[in-house]
């Protein structure tokens, strides 16, 4: 019978098939490029963003967890390890999932509509959402997940071969493979391929600021607007995520936000209203916010899927609070999947699921009232 592990196997198989005809290039003591190997067979590299402490301990400076890690231990993410007082990333080049996806799947609705993104991930995550959709890779350590060895240059070349103008670090949590994200973005830039990140936004300021100039767009999963939710269901904190959102927005990198509405846990009218008000006031009304439907998974299997009525209500609240681009996700065919001009109400980009049915934008503006629509259109 097809069990849940099959999904992990499927991801591994997807990796195996994701060599994209790469030229095998034997490197001394490194796995062959494009080969599927156990995660711990990929060479570790010294991590960026950490400092050395006394007695060979290290302090990670990548995410707000700020793990202090003794020798021979890994950080909370499970993919960074202290080896003899030097902190290493175990997942640089260790792509455990590689797919070519429509950019709408990320979702980005204001970034090159209808285009494709070569999407990649490694094992590991810095939080533990009880509702994680990709827990078979995000909640496992580097050595527990099979990976394809794809150094950044090969990733960028694979995107070009696939006709994808975008790279997207996604699926698990790009923060924990931030060096790979950075180097892939640089490699992509050399080939004219732009990079996007799909993240929880739980990252410290310095690494965020260092990588932002290399990115075209950033999507943040804002899990809720209450600290208690972050503590109880995410094992993280809300405040650093809000700070990251401010930094991303101020950087000029295109920003979109996704809010997964989970029945009874983060879907109250008051919370949705607070969130929408904060976005409008702090980030601006033109930042797209996607309210998406929860489906029971991982450790939250006792709840039902989010009723469409709940998403409708959030959508209405967001618009009433002044958000110009509120969307509804994971409900194929919903009117909230399409982009409408906030000036005149003209239907601009019509979508069904991840498909773009029509795009009437003209040079990034509404063809009816000529209002400029913010986004990355060319």
């Amino acid at each position: 019978m097809s069990g849940d592990l099959d999904r992990r196997r499927l991801l591994s198989l997807a990796c195996a098939g994701a060599g994209f005809g790469l030229l095998a290039r034997g490197l001394e003591s490194e796995p062959v490029v494009g080969a599927t190997v156990a995660g711990d067979q990929i060479p570790a590299r010294e991590a960026s963003w950490y400092r050395k402490l006394e007695e060979k301990r290290v302090a990670c400076q990548l995410c707000p967890r700020a793990c202090q890690v003794a020798e021979a231990e890994t950080g909370g993410c499970g993919v960074r390890e202290n080896r003899g007082g030097v902190y290493h990333t175990l997942v640089w080049g260790a792509a455990c999932a590689v797919h070519v996806d429509p950019i709408e799947k990320k979702p980005f609705f204001h970034v090159l509509p209808g285009q494709r993104a070569l999407s990649f991930a490694t094992a590991g995550c810095n939080v533990e959402c009880k509702f994680c959709q990709n827990w078979e890779i995000s909640q496992f350590r580097a050595e527990q997940v099979k990976a394809v060895y794809l150094p950044p240059e090969e990733l960028a070349k694979a995107a070009r071969r696939a006709g994808a103008p975008l790279l997207s670090a996604t699926y698990s949590e790009p923060v924990v493979f931030w060096e790979y994200v950075r180097d892939a973005a640089q490699a992509g830039r050399r080939l004219g391929i732009r990079s996007t990140v799909v993240s929880n936004g739980y990252i410290q300021e310095q690494p965020l600021r260092e990588v932002l100039p290399l990115l075209a767009a950033f999507k943040v999963d804002l899990k809720a607007f209450r600290e208690q939710f972050y503590r109880d269901l995410v094992r993280g904190e809300l405040k650093p995520v809000l700070r990251a959102l401010e930094i991303i927005r101020a950087s000029g990198v295109w920003l979109e936000i996704v809010v997964l509405l989970i029945p009874t846990l983060n879907d109250s009218e008051a919370e949705v209203r607070d969130l929408a008000r904060w976005v409008v006031r702090t980030l601006g009304p033109e930042v797209p916010v996607h309210f998406t439907r929860f489906h029971p998974t991982y450790r939250l299997t006792n709840l039902r899927a989010t009723p469409v009525a709940t998403l409708d209500r959030a959508w209405a609240i967001a618009k009433a609070e002044g958000l110009q681009f509120a969307y509804v996700g994971n409900v194929p065919g919903h009117a909230g999947e399409s982009t409408v001009c906030p000036g005149c109400g003209e239907l601009l980009i019509e979508r069904a699921g991840f498909q773009v049915l029509s795009n009437r934008l003209h040079h990034g503006a509404c063809p009816a009232c000529h209002r400029t629509i913010p986004g990355v259109w060319v």
Binding site: D40, A70, A72, G75, R299
Partner: protein, 320 residues
């Protein structure tokens, strides 16, 4: 004063108790009793013969259980039909892991109790760590099997107390009886890594549960029915112990404690390990673990769950 259990703790204890009640009917736990056997000077360092290990292990078992002999103790604790999983902690490498000679001695006792060679499984998280610590990987044959979990976990996570983890199938499905075979060492985050913390190695995501000195997470793993209903014995190779700088081996912080410890009370033996580590730290002018902000508070939590005796004053050390 004993604190009341929280709702979450109560659920953990009740669910564990329900399964435990229909468990294997193993010998009763000698609550609070820790058997100690001194090793001969020649067996304290890296080298120890199987004969030396067996002699010390048998004395520790007799002291811990009150049985007439080591073999009698093994028969009290294990039945011929059992499949016995011996979880070793080999993270510390060859200098700070349970020595293979002690494992061989324990396996020999189990065989004497009627447990077949292929029903004795020595394991840790990965085959690589086992090999690094001097173990030979063996998936069939005699005198016992030895291999890593190597990603063979349940397909779905089990939520229990504060943890949500996929357990090794060796623990959830294969074994009917379990032994924790650890060492006595300081741990940078948990405070102490001895018998209880060893069980972190049977879940897929221990890296998620090192906050707050691993409390209540260690106790939650051990109180899960998969472990609690099968755990018969804890043995510690305390030939070399380490009072600071763990979990990796630090020669300057290791000292020759020169003992084998055994107990059917998994909490009491950790309370003892905590005590001896603190005593050594005091001798060296280091702050005690509580003063160093890393008391192994999971010991008290495990006691509150009913897993054993956590109050050091109530632990009875029996030196054989």
């Amino acid at each position: 004063m004993r604190e009341p259990l929280s709702r979450r703790e109560l659920l953990a204890v009740v669910s564990a108790g329900v399964v435990g009640a229909v468990g294997t009917g193993a010998a009763p736990v000698r609550r609070g009793k820790v058997g100690l056997a001194r090793l001969p000077a020649t067996a304290v360092g890296a080298d120890m013969t199987t004969a030396q290990a067996r002699e010390a292990l048998e004395r520790a078992l007799v002291a811990a259980t009150g049985a007439s002999s080591g073999a009698a103790a093994a028969k009290q604790l294990f039945a011929p039909g059992d499949t016995v999983g011996i979880k070793v902690n080999t993270l510390g490498g060859p200098r700070l892991s349970p020595r293979p000679a002690l494992v061989e001695a324990l396996a020999a006792l189990l065989r004497d109790a009627g447990v077949g060679s292929e029903r004795i499984i020595v394991f840790d998280s990965s085959s690589r760590e086992l090999q690094r610590a001097g173990y030979t990987i063996r998936r069939s044959g005699e005198p016992f099997l030895c291999f890593g979990i190597d990603n063979d976990y349940d397909r779905q996570p089990a939520s229990h107390g504060a943890i949500g983890s996929c357990f090794a199938r060796l623990v959830s499905a294969t074994c009917t009886a379990l032994v924790s075979l650890g060492v006595v060492k300081d741990h940078d985050l948990a405070g102490v890594s001895a018998g209880l913390k060893n069980w972190f190695g049977v879940i897929h995501n221990p890296n998620k549960y090192h906050d707050g000195n691993c409390n209540p997470y260690v106790a939650d793993v051990v109180s899960h029915p998969y472990v609690r209903s099968k755990l018969r014995l804890t043995v510690l190779d305390a030939g070399t112990a380490q009072c600071h700088g763990g979990p990796a081996y630090r020669p300057d912080m290791a000292w020759p404690l020169g003992m084998v410890a055994a107990s059917t009370d998994p909490v009491a033996i950790d309370a003892w390990a905590w005590k001896v580590i603190d005593e050594e730290r005091t001798r060296r002018g280091l702050p005690r673990l509580a003063e160093a902000q890393r008391p192994p508070s999971f010991v008290a939590t495990a006691a509150r769950y009913g897993l054993g005796v956590g109050d050091p004053a109530a632990v009875r050390e029996v030196l054989a």
